[in-house]
Amino acid sequence: MTTQQVVAPEHLFFEAERERQFMTGSEAVREAIKRANVDMAISYPITPQSESMHLVGDIYAQGYLKEYFRGESEFAVMAAVAGAAMGGVRVFTATAGPGTLRAFEMFPTWAGARLPVVCAFMTRGVNSPLTIQPDTIEMAFLLDTGILMFHAENAQDLYDMILKAFVIAEQTDVHIPVGVFVDGFFVTHTREEVATAPADLKLPPYNPYSAPVPVMDMESVPVRQMRDPFVMKSNFISYAAHASWQQEILAAQERARKHVRRYLGGLLEAEHPEAAVLVVAAGTAVSQGREAVAAARREGLEVGLIKLKSLRPFPREEIRTLARQARALIVPEFNRVGWLAREIKSVVEDTTKVIDAPRVFGGMTMPPDLILAQIRRCCA
């Protein structure tokens, strides 16, 4: 293990000289966790996530993490992660598709308990029938759990977003979990060049006493404290307490916006935003979108590309503004339900501008030609 030096997040993210290496998405997870000063990671196997947690296990064996073990199920892992976070340590875990669904009750519980857990989701299809292939359907289910959601386009994003997720999640005015999503196989199991900060640098340790909620260690007051107290009486004070508690999670998501802008450079990225037709995508659909946009522009078509990086918080105002001057928003997606198009429709003024296509699922790849066909149609 390299001896590591703690540096400011800004230095690690923006100033330290980066080295380019050819690596898989799973290896990018390892490189991020190596520099994230994580205390504990808990794992459970599921394709296509397993490899990244094997690699986290390897760096635990080398001494980069203090604790690592395999739990008995995703629900138990997410529960153990919650216990660890309440005990005041920085934790990491990862899952995929069926694992996400098995653990589901824990996600709103993390958010409600204000736990700054970082979890990577290597998205895959869910049963039935069983598939291990990429599909972003699980993200539709997670949109309203209260967790922050970032979507990586490639291994570089995955590396950067995981590291930045810890810093954003742990802000006192945020302090809710972050899910970093990446399309399974397409990114986890393919290689690309990733620029990483030197391995002898790491983030500052988590300070549990910066949390807006008490740490469960009997070293901080109040000691007469339940995490989290029940508010289930049949009276208005109880209803109001539960309602305001839920609103506070949403408010924490809102307060996260400024941190997302600062560390991720914005909730979205736009290329040619002035164009009349925009391809709006998240995850690897952005890459196919980019190819289609380049091909269309070679044909002389006026088209731009919007890459969404943060889905929670959702770039509501940004999209509404972009949509105002556009004629059409084409939303390519890797799932059956078209949840991203639904999200976009929920914020634009004229929903008829939103084209919820092309859509592939079940593990299919997305030929850029399908997107190009939509662009041609919209430009005609």
């Binding site: 205390d39 504990m40 808990i42 203090k66 604790e67 073990f69 739990g71 008995e72 199920s73 629900f75 138990a76 892992v77 529960a79 153990a80 992660v81 919650a82 216990g83 660890a84 976070a85 309440m86 005990g87 005041g88 340590v89 934790v91 009750e105 824990m106 519980t109 308990a113 549990p208 008490p214 469960m216 260690d217 009997m218 070293e219 901080s220 007051v221 000691v223 007469r224 404290q225 339940m226 995490r227 989290d228 107290p229 029940f230």
Partner: protein
């Protein structure tokens, strides 16, 4: 808990509730008190909404009075009647979900060991029979397989009490309860045996009808979990409300069941745990002589 941490901030003396002030001046933290000292100190448990005559509430009162180091104990509970009481308990405690208590405790215990390597932090799980033997059994047993250094205490009231009296794995065979309209078809789950086979170094069954014995058992279980291995205590405390007994009769019912041999007080101590406890006993006598 660091010395001096638990005090009233200057200027707040008049606004803090009386019972909190009493906890500060006469609480059990760092004092090595037990069931025999009840009545001489301010207990961890405050007024709570459990039914009059609830055997589970009595069991909890005794358990809380028996914690060897309340100042360094974190409790993990689960949804059920007991969790309605834990908001009023003066040690930090976690309610996460119904049934995930041993998984939460696993993460918590490991986190506290990382953060306080030179201090003992006791993590004690206290949950109902439904939480322990039904919905959470997987995580309970897995924590034992992994030899997590936590104590698991089941409040065996023989029913899903908090949801209105449904059959649980710990209900007696034949009991007619909600969701068992023709009577329960299988006997009480023998979790103490399972605990022993699954790797617990200390296993005991007890009831609040034997307060001192209960105190001793809880203390031994928590001490064993510090060094030797997981420990399990099953507290027999049937629910008067759902079995429709006059609340004043609960302790007698427990005694009757013990007399009939249906409920047995038992203790299993592994050889390592036995040696460890004997060593602590010698140390304690030595300290007392000094």
């Amino acid at each position: 808990m660091s010395k001096g941490l638990f005090r009233i901030s200057p200027g707040f003396e008049d606004v803090m509730p009386a019972e909190y002030k009493e906890l500060v001046t006469n609480g059990p933290y760092g004092r090595d008190l037990g069931v025999k000292d009840l009545g001489t100190f301010k207990e961890l448990i405050e007024e709570h909404p459990l039914c009059a005559g609830c055997a589970e509430a009595l069991a909890l009162r005794l358990i809380l009075a028996s914690l060897p180091s309340p100042e360094d104990t974190v409790i993990v509970g689960s949804t059920g009647c007991s969790s309605l009481l834990f908001t009023q308990v003066a040690v930090q405690n976690i309610h996460s979900l119904f049934g995930n208590q041993n998984a939460v405790a696993t993460g918590l215990k490991r986190a506290l060991r990382l953060r306080f390597p030179d201090k003992v932090k006791d993590v004690v799980v206290i949950a109902g029979d439904g939480a322990t033997v039904d919905i959470g059994l997987d995580m309970v047993m897995q924590s034992w397989f992994r030899r997590e250094l936590i104590t698991t205490i089941m409040l065996d009231n023989e029913v899903y009490a908090n949801t209105g009296g449904q059959e649980s794995g710990m209900s007696p065979q034949g009991a007619v309860l909600y969701m068992a309209p023709l009577g329960k078809k299988f006997p009480k789950v023998n979790l103490p045996e399972i605990a022993r086979e699954a790797g617990c170094a200390y296993v005991a069954t007890i009831s609040p009808a034997l307060p001192r014995r209960l105190g001793k058992v809880v203390r031994r279980a928590i001490l064993v979990a510090r060094e030797i291995g997981p420990s399990y205590v099953q507290v027999f405390c049937p629910c008067p409300t759902n079995f429709k007994w006059p609340s004043a009769q609960v302790l007698q019912k427990i005694r009757d069941r013990q007399k009939e041999g249906i409920f047995k007080v038992r203790e299993y101590v592994s050889p390592e745990a036995e040696a460890y406890l004997a060593g602590l006993e010698v140390e304690r006598q030595h300290d007392e002589q000094e």
